[in-house]
Amino acid sequence: MALLSMRGVHVVVDTAEGPRTLVRLSELELAEGEMLGLVGETGSGKTLTGLAVTRVFPTPSIRLQGGSIELGGRDLAGLGERELLAVRGREVGVVFQDPNASLNPVFPVGRPLMDLLGLHRSLRGQAAVAEAVRLFQRVELPDAAALLSRYPHELSGGQRQRVMIAMAIAAGPKLLVADEPTTALDVTVQAELLRLLDDLRREAGMSVLFITHNLGVVAHMVERVAIMYAGDVVETGPTRAVLKEPRHPYTRLLLEAVPRQGQGRLKAIAGTAVPRSEIAQGCAFASRCPFAQDRCRAIEPALEGPGVHRAACLRQEEVLHV
């Protein structure tokens, strides 16, 4: 039984020329207790896909146009703003990329956490302090009690991200959306935080939507991966299968672009990503794809394939056997 099931999710931005599509997700599913890696380039819509679950977008001009987002059997897309307040933070926790900007600089770091405990778990006063200390200890922050009254600028980037994780899991959410949680941090800190996230997931049976552009992280961290391009999932399946035997040309080129030791020139994917809104018909990747044929530019491929490893490519068998 899937905990999260997103179908036909359509996110648009309102411009002077009318709404433009940013994300048009055919389907994305996340099982209970599973960690799914959502991989894509900047601008592929992976962050917006994560944010669409709680419908908090960076600007008011970006909005959810349609589709269904079922969390534990309930369609969040049909909920009003007021009902969503009870979902945010309580059923879905979110961790951002940049921990330096995500804590309010005028408050000690413990304050928003205790605030959250009051809001979602009705803990106040000493009970809230005790629980905040426990959460800080759980995310392995040193000297948790003293840290509660420190200001964000007194903490390191890694510590701040741990605070953000503590806040995201404070209400015991069923789903954690982790949007490139380690990208802004040192490599050494990255590994620790990733292990912590994985521990927390196991411990609480929480599902994690892990958004990243780093295939190396994905290879080590997640069992299942979904590759995004131009606002839609182009390939999904068990991590090993997708990375070892990519069925979509985009995944293949992405893997070839990962820097390797002893490699001469770095490889890049020719051309630039075309926004979803500018593709009238056919496959979104056709303009950059070395496998593209006329039919690719005419027919929009659906996610298909043998078993759980599926790709949205008409020529996936050929891609696989090149």
Partner: protein
């Protein structure tokens, strides 16, 4: 922050002087009924035998044409003038900050509507509004305060709105939204504390101008009415005696000058401290 503030004030002479003078004014305003030698004079007592006496030990600032002690009037008048200015600024802040927060955060048509209304009020001469209110509701200090507050708030709306616009999409605001906070609470708890600094500085500097304008309105007969001991009103009464009895307008005038100057010095100092802190210099 308390320690850095003290440190800065010690280094900055002008701010310290302003603060001291202001402290004296605030103290005398609070204690006026007890330290004024003739508190009854402000309540309407007249002493025809003592009219227009020059400054002496009995009457440090002399007396007026009704024999009232000017020192007592100026002391008690500081309550009216400082208090009136303070209340005006508080009302203007309440209106201005609220509208600015809403305009900046809501955006869209609501923002447009609030800001165009703000422009209209800004374009409306405040003196005309004061005259209109005095004409319809009758002249009094309360109505002058009302008129001032109603014409002063747009500056705060604009300031707050611009701050909110730059904070609205900050990650920590997004984080607060993602943790299930209502918009009202996000505005008050997360955006306001980060947006309030320039408004506090502006308000502290405005206080001087507002006190001056209120005194001006009273001088014109649109503000405080006799026998209220208001500085502008005392000067208005004394204008016939400028050439013959110099002390009558000089001392209330000096009180206005000192109070407004002190407020400006403090406002400047506050600006330095808070902006330096923002730039990370201190």
């Amino acid at each position: 922050m308390g320690r850095t503030l003290r440190f800065y004030v010690r280094r900055n002479l002008m701010t310290s002087i302003g603060l001291c003078v202001l402290a004296v004014f605030v103290l005398t305003a609070i204690l006026a009924p007890w330290i004024a030698p003739y508190p009854g004079d402000a309540a309407g007592l007249v002493h025809p035998a003592h009219q227009l006496l020059p400054p002496s030990w009995q009457h440090p600032m002399g007396t007026d044409e009704l024999g009232r002690d000017l020192f007592s009037l100026v002391l008690l008048g500081s309550r009216v003038s400082l208090g009136g200015g303070f209340v005006t600024i508080v009302f203007a802040l309440l209106i201005g900050v609220t509208l600015g927060l809403i305009a900046g955060y809501a955006g869209g048509w609501l923002d447009e509507a609030i800001m165009r209304f703000t422009d209209i009020v800004l374009g409306f001469p405040s003196l005309l509004l004061a005259v209109a209110i005095a004409a319809t509701l009758g002249p009094s200090l309360d109505h002058a305060v009302l008129a001032m507050a109603l014409s002063w708030w747009p500056w705060y709306t604009r300031l707050i709105r611009s701050q909110v616009l730059s904070l609205r999409n900050a990650d920590f605001v997004q984080a607060a939204r993602l943790s299930g906070r209502s918009p009202a609470r996000i505005l008050v708890r997360h955006i306001l504390p980060n947006a309030v600094t320039p408004v506090v500085v502006q308000a502290s500097m405005d206080l001087g101008s507002v006190i001056l304008t209120l005194a001006g309105l009273s001088f014109l007969g649109l503000g405080a009415q006799p026998p209220t001991p208001e500085w502008g009103l005392i000067i208005a009464n004394g204008q016939n005696y400028v050439l013959t009895n110099w002390w009558y307008v000089t001392f209330p005038g000096l009180a206005i000058l000192l109070a407004v100057s002190a407020l400006n010095l403090v406002g400047d100092g506050l600006n330095d401290v808070l902006n330096r802190r923002e730039r990370g210099v201190l």
